[in-house]
């Protein structure tokens, strides 16, 4: 197991490096740069304490600066230039204009909005339903684990699995696809599910809903458990029926968590790529922004439009980003 040994050594060097950096830099700061001795002892302690947080932060900030901050601005720049061989010149918003004129882009935008409307709502609703129904069940924990299991499977893995569900064979053959087998057993005709215009988008969404429901359920069921019993008991005493208890007593108390789950899934949806890429690759009217961008960059080699569409995703995420920062700030006060 030579490569395994190599990996082990890399890990040891990595973690050792981290700890070593940390220990040494603190040592240098305290003992060499600003020793708490001599006439300036007090000032030195203060200085050391001013610098110390940056020692802890430096590795992460450097990594994020290189791999996160710089690329964001670089993409912004790329979206506004044209590459002529090696020559680059600024065309400002020409790429955006070119992109907006493409029907595939409009289709991607429309589909992304459809995904945004359907997936977070459906996943949260199913998650809430599952959380409520399994709450007091004896085998509820087992049921929860099973509902949650798709979450541990990769999007690509799920896409491959669902391809088997939507698989189509000509009418005279036995259907291997789960859905077509059911349809045929019920007396219907097999369909090429992924090629039905417009509705195929929803068949793709089902895959993501299938994955994200488990996530919503786990978070919401923790929230449901946190509801004070007295509120529910009071409602029972007042003669509320189960639906009233659920919608008027329980749901309002976990509204904050519902919003968090909703926005988390919204973020996943805005970036949705793997499922569409692996199942239809944007054919038959199922294009989404992320796959459109990938298509432009890697197949059409059109860097300008590709970067411009990446910026569109960024702009769509920005309201959620700002809202979260504002929220985090409010919590501080």
């Amino acid at each position: 197991m030579h490569p395994a040994l190599q990996g082990l050594i890399t890990i040891i060097i990595g973690v050792g490096g981290c700890v070593g950096y940390f220990w040494l830099s603190n040592l240098v700061l305290d003992k060499v740069l600003f020793p708490p001795r001599g006439p300036n002892a007090g000032r030195n302690i203060n200085r050391a304490n001013m610098i110390r947080p940056w020692l802890f932060l430096f590795p992460a900030l450097a990594a994020l600066g290189l791999y996160l901050a710089y690329p964001v601005f670089e993409t912004l720049r790329l979206s506004m230039i044209e590459r002529d061989g090696v020559e680059e010149h600024w065309v400002w918003f020409a790429n955006y204009a070119r992109m907006a004129a493409e029907p595939k882009f409009i289709e991607a935008l429309r589909n992304n909005f459809l995904w945004l409307l359907v997936v977070p709502a459906a996943s949260t609703a199913f998650g809430l339903l599952a959380a409520q129904l399994t709450d007091r069940l004896r085998w509820g924990n087992l049921a929860k684990s099973l509902i949650f299991m798709p979450m541990a499977i990769s999007f690509v893995g799920a896409a491959v699995i669902w391809k088997l569900v939507y698989d189509y064979r000509p009418i005279d053959q036995e259907q291997i696809g789960v859905l077509n087998a059911i349809v045929v057993a019920l007396g219907g005709e097999p369909q090429t599910w992924l090629q039905i215009p417009f509705w195929n988008n929803f068949f793709l969404m089902v895959v993501l809903i299938w994955i994200q429901t488990g996530f919503a359920m786990v978070i919401l069921s923790a929230a449901l458990r946190g509801i004070p019993e007295e509120t529910v008991e009071a409602a029972i005493v007042d003669g509320a029926n189960p639906f009233q208890i659920f919608f008027k007593i329980k749901v309002p108390q976990i509204r904050g968590t519902i919003v968090v789950v909703w926005t988390t899934i919204t973020l996943v949806v805005l970036k949705i790529f793997d499922i569409v890429f692996a199942m239809t690759n944007g054919q038959w009217g199922t294009q989404v922004l992320a796959n459109y961008m990938f298509d432009k960059l890697f197949r059409a080699n059109d860097w300008g439009v590709g970067s411009a569409s990446a910026m569109v995703i960024m702009v769509l995420v920005t309201p959620i980003l700002v809202w979260n920062v504002v929220n985090a700030r409010r919590e501080m006060k």
């Binding site: 973690v15 981290c18 996160l68 901050a69 710089y70 099973l146 690509v156 491959v160 959620i320």
Partner: protein, 282 residues
């Protein structure tokens, strides 16, 4: 909990209620059940059109060894481990330090840095694609496990730092102050006071990051190609393209690919859920 407990409802309603849940559950898991069933069928069953009947014979061993013998799936899985494990360790180690600094020290830029981390957490990864690819190419790390792992470490550090910071913030601050009064150096406070208390957070985060990275496909596609460096997600996709007709092998492959994170999930369920809850709610 209900005003009229389900136990006192009329018998048909009671049975319907009890039966509905398992039925819904089976429907929910039908795709997985179908894949598991298909993965043990023989090629003969598939060509003869026996998809839904009982398999004529079980080819569990044959199918699963076939994918390891005839395809580089073993290599892909090995690559996945080579990317995932260093990323988990690197991101957790880095974020312990940054989380500690942001939670414990009061300095002027603290809030600014914190908000930068919050914001960075929401940056869609697509926007990073071209520059990161160029960067990796320039560093000579394109198409290498190291390049992929390095990027993952950097990108995950944002989320991990927020997670760790919030966790340390919730600890009793008196512990740290008491240690300071005793004259313990800052590094020792981190190492002996805070780090041992962070164990649950570290476990939760490690499980979470493991599944995130194992299941990543986008960056595997952008930064690697070929069986020498691609992880299993990318491998599964290319295998799926190669054997469109051999559903029994594709099914076996997708089960093998999903096995490590699913096992991880079942073994470490408590940590996994704790991680998701902490990460989402705070």
């Amino acid at each position: 909990m209900f005003p009229k407990p389900i136990q006192s409802a009329p018998a048909p309603a009671r049975i319907a209620y009890k039966a509905a849940l398992p039925v819904a559950l089976v429907l929910w898991l039908l795709p997985l059940i179908a894949v598991a069933l298909t993965s043990v069928r023989s090629a003969g069953d598939i060509t003869a059109g026996n998809y839904w009947g009982w398999p004529t014979d079980f080819h569990l061993w044959e199918n699963y060894t076939a994918i390891f013998e005839n395809t580089p799936i073993g290599k892909y899985i090995w690559n996945s481990f080579r990317v995932t494990i260093p990323t988990v360790i690197g991101a957790v180690a880095l974020s312990c330090m940054t989380g500690f600094a942001l939670a414990v020290y009061r300095f002027r830029a603290n809030l600014l840095v914190f908000f930068m981390f919050v914001a960075g957490n929401f940056v869609p990864f697509q926007i990073l694609m071209v520059p990161v690819r160029d960067l990796t190419l320039q560093m000579g790390l394109y198409n290498s496990v190291t390049g992929l792992a390095l990027f993952h470490i950097a990108f995950q550090t944002g989320f991990c730092t927020l997670f760790m910071r919030n966790f340390i913030r919730a600890m009793p601050f008196e512990l740290i102050e008491a240690a300071r009064v005793e004259g313990v150096s800052e590094f020792r406070i981190f190492w002996y006071v805070v780090l041992p208390l962070m164990r649950p957070a570290i476990a939760a985060l490690a499980v979470l990051i493991f599944t995130f990275i194992w299941n990543d496909y986008f960056w595997a596609l952008v930064l690697t190609q070929g069986a020498d460096s691609q992880p299993i997600t990318a491998g599964l996709y290319s295998l799926n393209g190669q054997w469109v007709a051999a559903w029994h092998l594709v099914s076996a492959g997708s089960i093998v690919a999903a096995l490590p994170p699913v096992l991880m999930f079942f073994l470490m369920q408590r940590h996994f859920i704790a991680g998701l809850t902490l990460g989402a709610v705070k």
